[in-house]
């Protein structure tokens, strides 16, 4: 059904989803490390707002809990951990020169169109208003992957990875009204442990190659060593 036939709260959910997509483009375009972390925090907050509003709109109270957990972990805890790491790594003023920003943006738009095409046969039956958001969430996942591929700095790559997890959470909420609680908590725990391990890794990488430019991690290749 077209958006005009939906009640206001449900329209708001769709608007939030579109803004999440915009935020992943913003994340892709940041060159300063600290502003990238902020953009990621905003994306996390928006992704947490989607199930909260969907819960109010569709009367699904268990979504409030997952919205709260996401807000705490993705919008507050993980950005705080990254801020601390950046301070300890002395990267607060780090600016990375982005490679071919126009091309990366174009590829991101192509990825959005690709995700829409991929998901199209699935949402033909459009039963609830949130099904269309699956395309947006797949696009956020793929744009997170693009960010990992196009960035040289290790912290920026980790932010791309976390952005992928944001997209996955949005997919879980939008396609299925939220996964079972056990699974959601397990996934959140995994993300948190991954973040801790990333933190440990940053220090190990810096110790071994004296910078966090992962292009310099190139000793293991298939060509003659």
């Amino acid at each position: 059904m077209s958006i005009l036939e939906l009640p206001l709260l449900q329209q708001l959910v769709l608007v939030l989803a579109a803004v999440v997509l915009f935020s992943s483009f913003v994340l892709l375009a940041q060159s300063r490390l600290v502003s990238t972390i902020h953009a990621f925090a905003w994306q996390g907050a928006l992704v947490a707002a989607v199930p909260a509003v969907a819960a109010a709109a569709g009367d699904l109270p268990h979504l409030y809990f997952s919205a709260l957990v996401t807000l705490l972990i993705k919008a507050l805890l993980i950005p705080w951990m990254l801020h601390r790491l950046v301070r300890h790594l002395e990267l607060e003023r780090h600016i990375e020169s982005l490679r071919l920003p126009a091309l990366v943006n174009m590829v991101a738009v192509v990825l959005v169109i690709f995700s829409y095409w991929l998901v199209l046969p699935m949402v033909q039956q459009g039963l609830t208003f949130t099904r269309n958001i699956v395309a947006i969430s797949l696009a956020v996942v793929l744009i997170g992957l693009l960010m990992m591929v196009s960035r040289r700095q290790a912290v920026a790559q980790v932010l791309g990875f976390m952005s992928m997890e944001n997209g996955l959470f949005l997919a879980a909420v939008s396609a299925t009204r939220g996964m079972p609680l056990v699974v959601e908590l397990g996934v959140a725990f995994d993300v948190l442990v991954a973040m801790v391990l990333f933190g440990v890794f940053f220090f190990q990488i810096r110790e071994s190659i004296d910078s966090l430019d992962v292009d310099r991690l190139n000793r293991l290749t298939e060509s003659d060593r």
Partner: protein
């Protein structure tokens, strides 16, 4: 039920205990004891399954397919723990790792076993994902244990590639849940494999085919299928040897197990569409690609562990191909192959650990005359490589022969590709092996204290399985085959 809970929870308790133990010798012995207890519980569980058929409860579920993998995991975990106890003391004495690193190593070793056993025994697809991701997280710090630039690079690659792969697998899981919610009476049971299996034919085929692609790419990254294999040679070669043994021997199996479980859901749902064998065809495609590419890459390797990890990729490719081929013969062969490959590969890696210790390096060019220096290591390596290359009378010959027979029946032209791949891999392995074991020992190579008991146990088992598969194992594998394909072989 008790056996099941014990099998899964003993490693968890061990991990927690080992996180607190500070002294290295005590940690080594505790690791060994916990692994032995875990193996005992797994044997008890296997006996129960043979008697009862399957055990389910608290969203755990062990049936004929998973029980033998559980026993295999616990067994290899135990024998590798036997090997790792003196080996890690030597590593620590050499100064390649710190005391704190050892604590992390032992705790993560048991945590890794816990996550693998959890993945094998759970009935919930979401918990399966969490466990496989947990296995990745548990091992990632261990790959970089030695803190050399290469090790850190290998661990970073492993983390990023497997993280991305598993994120795609999570998307596939979400799509599966989505499909389940449309057809199941109780939507919250949408992630329970057994309920899904009961209604698999009603799942929407469009959704399930997209979901399967994501799941195959995702879990396939962990299996090491080409082109998502880039992390495997690095991670298996830069980590400590016990880690290479369990990664090659066990984790790849668990990931393949996840793929096959999901294929069991997808096949009935696609049965009525225009492409009913899509899942099988995808598996065959990835499988044969991995098999051939890895066989070719074997020749270029200069590091002994990297060479054997490409051999792992090759064998996983063969297994994936066999599972994709479908039908009772190929599936039985693939299940047998999982078993014997695990045993042989972990034995090889243990032997390679000793060989590298003797030579002081992992470079193939500098390892020479192992039979002269320390005959038991040299001969074990020779026999192990003969086993892995598929010589009769070892078990791998049996399983590869069965796969070839099944291919000849199903896809005759692919038999040629398989044979070529086998020959190429054989040539690569022996080309590198020959100078390593024969010839004179160079200066600086001296005997090392080496406990060859685990290796001998593994190779004897593989030999036994090649000569005559015991009745209960054959029946067990047959029941697993029936579960997967719906038809008996024997």
């Amino acid at each position: 039920m008790t056996a099941l809970l014990l099998t899964v929870l003993i490693p968890l308790a061990g991990a927690l205990a080992l996180a607190l133990v500070r002294s290295l010798p005590r940690a080594g012995w505790l690791n060994l004891v916990v692994s032995t207890l875990s193996f005992g519980a797994a044997l008890w569980l296997a006996r129960t399954i043979v008697a009862v058929g399957e055990v389910a409860g608290y969203s755990f579920r062990v049936d004929a397919f998973s029980v033998y993998l559980v026993v295999l995991t616990a067994f290899v975990g135990m024998t590798t723990a036997i090997f790792s106890r003196p080996y890690m003391r030597h590593v620590c004495a050499e100064g390649r790792a710190s005391e704190r690193g050892m604590r992390v190593y032992h705790a993560m070793y048991q945590a890794f076993l816990f996550t693998m056993l959890l993945a094998l025994t759970t009935d919930n697809l979401g918990v399966l994902w969490v466990a496989v991701e947990g296995a990745t997280l548990a091992t990632v710090l261990l790959v970089s244990l030695y803190r050399t630039p290469e090790a850190v690079e290998a661990a970073w690659k492993y983390f990023i590639l497997c993280g991305v792969g598993l994120a795609l697998a999570l998307f596939g899981t979400v799509l599966t849940y989505f499909a389940a919610q449309q057809v199941m009476a109780d939507p919250s049971a949408g992630l329970t494999w057994s309920s899904l299996y009961g209604q698999a034919a009603e799942l929407d085929s469009a959704v399930m085919s997209i979901a399967f692609v994501f799941l195959l790419v995702g879990y396939g990254t962990k299996v090491g299928l080409v082109p998502m294999h880039q992390w495997l040679p690095d991670a298996h070669s830069e980590g400590p040897t016990p880690m290479s043994a369990v990664l090659s021997g066990l984790l790849l199996n668990v990931a393949l197990y996840a793929v096959v479980r999901l294929k069991m859901l997808v096949d009935p749902s696609l049965a009525a569409t225009a492409t009913p064998h899509l899942a099988g065809q995808l598996l065959m495609g990835f499988g044969i690609l991995s098999f051939l590419v890895a066989g070719l890459f074997l020749h270029r390797q200069r590091d002994i562990k990297r060479m054997f990890s490409y051999s792992s990729i090759e064998h996983m490719g063969l297994m994936t191909f066999a599972f994709g081929l479908g039908g009772p013969l190929a599936t039985f062969a693939a299940l047998l192959h999982m078993l014997v490959h695990s045993l042989t590969k972990s034995a090889i890696f243990v032997t390679v650990g000793h060989a590298a210790h003797i030579a002081g390096t992992q470079a193939i060019d500098r390892i020479r005359g192992l039979i002269r220096t320390q005959p038991e290591v040299g001969w074990s390596l020779l026999i192990g490589v003969a086993a892995i290359a598929g010589f009769p009378p070892f078990g791998l010959f049996t399983s590869e022969f069965l796969v070839l027979t099944a291919t000849m029946k199903g896809q005759p032209w692919l038999t040629l590709a398989l044979l070529i791949g086998l020959v190429v891999a054989f040539a690569g392995l022996f080309r590198h092996l020959h100078p390593m074991v024969y010839g004179n020992a160079p200066e600086g190579h001296h005997r090392v204290p080496a406990n060859m008991l685990p290796v001998a146990a593994h190779l004897l088992l593989v030999l036994w399985l090649g000569l005559s598969i015991p009745g209960f194992l054959a029946r067990s594998l047959d029941r697993a085959t029936e579960l997967i394909t719906g038809a008996h072989l024997l």
